[in-house]
Amino acid sequence: MRKYSVFAVAREALRDHTGWDRAWPNAAPKKRYDVIIIGAGGHGLATAYYLGKNFGITNVAIIEKGWLGGGNTGRNTTIIRSNYLQDPSAAIYEKSRSLYETMSQDLNYNVMFSPRGVMMLAQTEHEKRGYLRTAHANKLQGVATRFIGPEEVKKLVPIINLHGPRYPVLGALWQERGGTARHDAVAWGYARACAAMGMDVIQKCEVTGITKENGRVTGVNTTRGDIACDKLGVVVAGHTGVLADMAGFRLPVESLALQALVSEPIKPCMDVVVMANTVHGYMSQSDKGEMVIGGGTDGFNNYTQRGSFHHIEETVRALVETFPMISRLKMLRQWGGIVDMTGDRSPILSKTPVEGIFMNCGWGTGGFKAIPGSGWAMAELMAKGHSPLTEEFSMFRFREGKFIDESVAAGVAH
């Protein structure tokens, strides 16, 4: 695979851009692989990439029922942060955030990581106390965050209304090194790097069954034939429940619809990411100038990738109070993705009751930020059987009562 560089751009400019390779070939499935990863979204591709890069396992197929990065990877609001309360979460999300910093160089693919800063507004006294606590916890975990007062919020976000009648801004948890990245590029970059290591990225190939022998996985049935494997990584987010059913066990996971929307493009007006968890809304401005807005989940199980309109209405109504200027904006597009929510709102990276099957799911409403860290940890788990980053995220923690209780720590918006 030819390296992307300024010289490559110059070379191609001289010959009318006729020399660019395909970023990755559209592979057909072989009969057997050492490792199969189900799900070619960010997490699945990252898992495959680090299996190859860190452990030299390259006889790997990543199979995807739709198109690459077409699920939640292409539907999120691209926020990257690691200001979590609990130690296990802070460890994996901070690993992830730090990998984002060098991702464009590692993958030789511009993922447009923009560490513009992430601000989580405290709009009630309760929330303010919570964020002060998180800021202290982060200090101990080595995650650079701090609590800032309303004046500093106003300085960083001039368009904000600090004195809204219902939602005054009392301060914010500020992570300067958080930010955003181009979500599609993350998937494409990993796919290209995986293909360069000789892995097969197989699209339009839906898994219809999982075959087992003596409690051990032997392969998968797909719409493009049966494929054998030694190890199987299931990294399918919203469809985790469906795959777990095929494998023959149940998980503490429920699939819900989460929505986002973007406005018409406007001139630059906000150069940080702002999250307002009290009102379930978060907003950033994309490089194209659109205001990218995310909201809350629906309350019921849903696989339709469409959300309920009233959630959009609630989100926008609340954000308009905090950002009065957006009241005149027209909204361009709205979409939904299916997120897999666990009982404690923390992910599952785990061995399963079936030997050889590994689960990576439950990232809920905040999976994008975790892509490289999740892939890094999952690859270690699959290659070595254990990983310091995944120890606490076992699916068996629910039986032990060892929850990683981020639903209380971070509110709903992850």
């Binding site: 149940r250 998980l251 996971v253 309350g299 019921f300 199980n301 469409r306 629910f398």
Partner: protein
């Protein structure tokens, strides 16, 4: 948008009239049960893509809890029925069988 009908007061409304209460027909386990049974009752869920049974509450109406049979892949509602039952009534099962032949959900089919 989801439209439900409260089986108690007969009011039809869209979802903001109601509140979702999670999976229905859970078999409850308490003190004396095994760890696995207790875990399964508290956390493990069917989460099917297709026919699903769940609890709803008519919060902005009569306030009563009821059950609904619904398809999670299309949001089609097959019917709503009383919460005072451990199994969906035959009429609901027949309505589902007519539209989703061969369906199954835990021990029901």
């Amino acid at each position: 948008m989801l439209y439900l009908e409260c089986p108690y007061c007969g009011v039809k409304g869209e979802e903001t009239e109601f509140h979702a209460g999670g999976e229905a027909h859970l078999k409850r386990f308490g003190p004396g049960s095994s760890d696995q049974e207790f875990e399964s009752y508290l956390f493990a869920r069917e989460n099917p893509k297709g026919v699903h049974f769940e609890r709803w509450r008519h919060v902005n109406g009569c306030g009563k809890w009821f059950h609904a049979a619904r398809c999670t892949a299309s949001l089609e509602v097959f019917g709503t029925y009383s919460a005072q039952t451990t199994e969906p009534p035959k009429a609901i099962k027949d309505a589902i069988s007519a539209k989703r032949p061969g369906w199954r959900w835990r021990d029901f089919s």
